[in-house]
Amino acid sequence: MYDQTTTKRMNAADRIVCAAFWAVIGLVLLAYGKVIFDIALQGAHLISWDYLTGTPERSGRAGGVFPIVVNTIVVLAIAVVIALPISLAIALYVTEYLSPGTRLVIIFRSSMLILASVPSISFGLFGATFFAQYLGLGTSLLTGGLTLAVMIIPICAFAFEEVFRLLPVGYRNGAYALGASKARFIFRVMIPACTTEIITVVLLGAGRALAETAALLFTSGYSDRMPESLLDPGRVLSVHIYDLAMNIPGGDRMATASSLLLIALFLLISSAGLYFSNKSRL
């Protein structure tokens, strides 16, 4: 039994730890809040219907960003559509078909960790060499999307594997005890039960892809025209922001507007993803 003094001391310690946590959370929120506040302050008044639907003029110093938003969504869609099934398949194979602790699993986990920490510029160089030159896709939206897919596959596969491993063992036992085959368990229990987590992982991967500049500099190109096919080059929002901020004199204001748009786009995709994942449960 604790005496009263010990209890009081523990309560004081709890309060100090709690205060420290809140202080850290407050600092982080403050830092992020300041970034978003500054961007919103400088960029919000530039965002209008004309800006969203217009085409860039004078190298982006004026006009809108519609083709750039389209390019961004196309590249992101290619990356997610390619990366999602491949990374899901890798994670499912490792968790459901390989025994934990075997050499193959250890090799997989190490490889995914290493690949996930490779600098994105290296993926950009790989994409430019392999997809653009070797496969002859040139500098295009498709090359950009495929490069991003290769970049986010290890991140998503590693995260999916963690998600599947954390699935309560009762679901697995329950399904198999009812006579379910492995495929039925995977597609009717495991994936539906993990929908929210799967979407969260995809959003994390998509967020990484959406913010990516280095990998796309060499692969998707700089063109700010409306694309006519997947093999057309196209500038995405992050590259547009980079270009306005670094290469275009007087482009800073429009860069902040594009940054705000990028944040809004990601919030929109995340909210939609999480809303539909919650809906799909029952």
């Binding site: 697995r172 036992n173 005890a177 009812l178 006579g179 085959s181 229990v189 449960r281």
Partner: protein, 275 residues
């Protein structure tokens, strides 16, 4: 040597469990993990419409043994090697026949902790029906209602089948899991300490349900609760750990095990002298 035959072929030939054949029988079943025997040389049989309780201290291989009966051990302990012979309705299922999924339709299983899937009640029940190869959706409503009535959940869930199964109480979740297992009309249901995570009231409801199930199928229940075994079981098998391996030291009617146990260890265990 008996050639293993698929259960459905035997059923089609009209071969069912008829006395004196037990519904389920295990002969010389051992479970090995590397060099170590977890369960050694177990002989047990389960008669039609009988409740057999398996009791014994923790870690003596009771759960491991019952997981061999429907080959769930392939998932719960994949590295284990199972030896011996197991027959269901006279059909050899160990050495393994190919179709473990069909076997599990015939030998249902309910676990320690209720494990409904995190979907609606309806989806939980439909999963069981589809896993049993039943794809005729027009019959689902009646089958689901019948199973839920059997476990006394229909009055509670009528009109609320789209509610999340995980929102039910622990006892209700366990009864839902039993209803799910009943949808395949199993010959045997294995219960692995089904009340260990439940309160006494829910536990009583489960016990009453198991007693009712006896009219439909045979039941093998692993329990640490001797009083529970006395309340519901017809026969009892006592597992004990000998030289690191679980063995059946005694098997008999519940009354004989409680009143006149043959083994000294059983007597001491029943009297709680090891506590």
């Amino acid at each position: 040597m008996t050639i293993p035959q698929p259960l459905d072929r035997l059923s089609a030939q009209g071969i069912h469990a008829v006395p004196p054949y037990p519904v389920l029988s295990a002969h010389g079943v051992s479970v090995r993990l590397g060099e170590r025997h977890i369960v050694r040389d177990v002989d047990l049989s389960l008669n039609p419409n009988e409740i057999l309780a398996v009791i014994g201290p923790s870690g003596c291989g009771k759960s491991t043994f019952i997981a061999t009966l429907n080959r769930m051990i392939e998932h719960t302990l994949p590295a284990a090697e199972v030896e011996g012979q197991i027959k269901l309705n006279g059909t050899q299922i160990l050495p393994a026949m190919n179709d473990a999924t069909h076997l599990r339709n015939k030998i249902g299983m309910v676990f320690q902790r209720p494990n409904p899937f995190p979907f609606s009640v309806q989806r939980n029940m439909e999963f069981a029906l589809k896993a049993n190869g039943d794809h005729d959706r027009s019959g689902y409503a009646d089958k689901i209602e019948e199973a839920l009535r059997l476990v006394n959940l229909w009055d509670r869930l009528d009109g609320r089948l789209n509610d999340p199964a995980t929102c039910l109480s622990g006892g209700e979740q366990q009864r839902l899991c039993i209803a799910r297992a009943l949808l395949s009309d199993p010959d045997v249901i294995l219960f692995d300490e089904p009340c260990s995570a439940l309160d006494p009231i829910s536990c009583t409801a489960i016990e009453e349900l198991i007693l009712r199930l006896k009219e439909r199928c045979s039941v093998l229940i692993v329990t640490h609760n001797l009083a529970q075994a006395r309340r519901i079981a017809d026969r009892c098998a006592v597992f004990w750990l000998r030289e690191g391996s679980g063995e059946v030291i005694e098997c008999g009617t519940m009354q004989q095990i409680v009143d006149t146990p043959k083994e000294q260890i059983t007597r001491a265990y029943i009297r709680g002298e090891f506590c």
